[in-house]
């Protein structure tokens, strides 16, 4: 399989188009013949990170990179950053707005769901600058 790189811009507050990037990523992986179980894990994790960009960030992008050994999803945003990553990783902890919560988001399960579904999960954040999440899925 030749390497594939795709970039998906994600707009802050774009609830009506939420999930489009993740759905496209899922279609690409299916077409590449990636194992169905891996595709499902990537779909859940990429949806969660896409929603985090929509709910919490000032906008950003998702990057898909596929090679012979792994699927890599990288999320990079333009802020505002996470002051306490350990707290943000805790199940049930959320800073989502009331608007987001009224749609069923903000359960405080997004980051834990990403970590559980990915084979490798890394998060770095610089308050005032932005957050980067990198998830690898072995294939």
């Amino acid at each position: 399989m030749s390497g594939i790189r795709e970039v998906f811009p994600v707009e802050a507050g774009g609830f009506t188009t939420a999930g489009e990037a993740s759905a496209t990523i899922k279609q690409i992986l299916k077409k590449l013949g990636v194992d169905a179980g891996v595709v499902r894990r990537v779909a859940v994790a990429s949806y969660e990170v896409e929603l985090n960009l929509i709910i919490h960030s000032l906008g950003g992008e998702l990057l898909l990179h596929v090679d012979d050994h792994r699927v890599r999803i990288t999320s990079q945003d333009r802020g505002p950053g996470i002051p306490d990553i350990d707290l943000a990783m805790r199940e049930g902890y959320s800073t989502a707005s009331e608007d987001a919560r009224s749609l069923g988001f903000g359960a405080g399960m997004g980051l834990p769901n990403m970590k559980r579904n990915a084979d490798q999960f890394a998060i770095t954040s610089d308050p005032g600058v932005g957050t980067c999440i990198q998830m690898d899925f072995n294939i």
Partner: protein, 116 residues
């Protein structure tokens, strides 16, 4: 259990004409928090929720749910309905609440999705 059998058991109304009703339901889960549902996803699941907006269909398709059953449903969001019809996704509405729907399906043999 097929979608047709689920309809017979619960009386749920199909909102998307033409959806194949011989599709199998593997398990059921009832929750209104989207991340909880994704944490308990299982292919072919029936998802019972009161949430009526576009993002429910987006999540249901991503996790390959067999159907969404809207509980306590008197009115369906038009954008949600359009999305389900465009995609041919099996969306149902029921006057029953989520507890009752779950009870009916459990009594008929359907079980909850597996814990991760």
């Amino acid at each position: 259990m097929t979608l047709a059998q689920m309809m017979e058991i619960t009386g749920a109304e199909l909102l998307v004409p033409g959806v194949p009703l011989d599709k199998e339901i593997s398990a059921g889960y009832s929750c209104d928090l989207l991340s909880w549902v994704m944490g308990r996803e299982q292919p072919g699941m029936a998802w019972i929720t009161v949430q009526t907006h576009l993002n429910v269909i987006a999540v249901a398709e991503l996790i390959e749910a067999a159907c969404v059953i809207l509980a306590d449903c008197s009115q369906v969001d038009s954008a949600m309905l359009q999305r389900a019809r465009d995609d041919g996704f099996a969306l149902f509405a029921s006057k029953h609440d989520a507890f009752t729907l779950g009870g009916m399906l459990y009594a008929a043999g359907l079980r909850t999705t597996e814990r991760p």
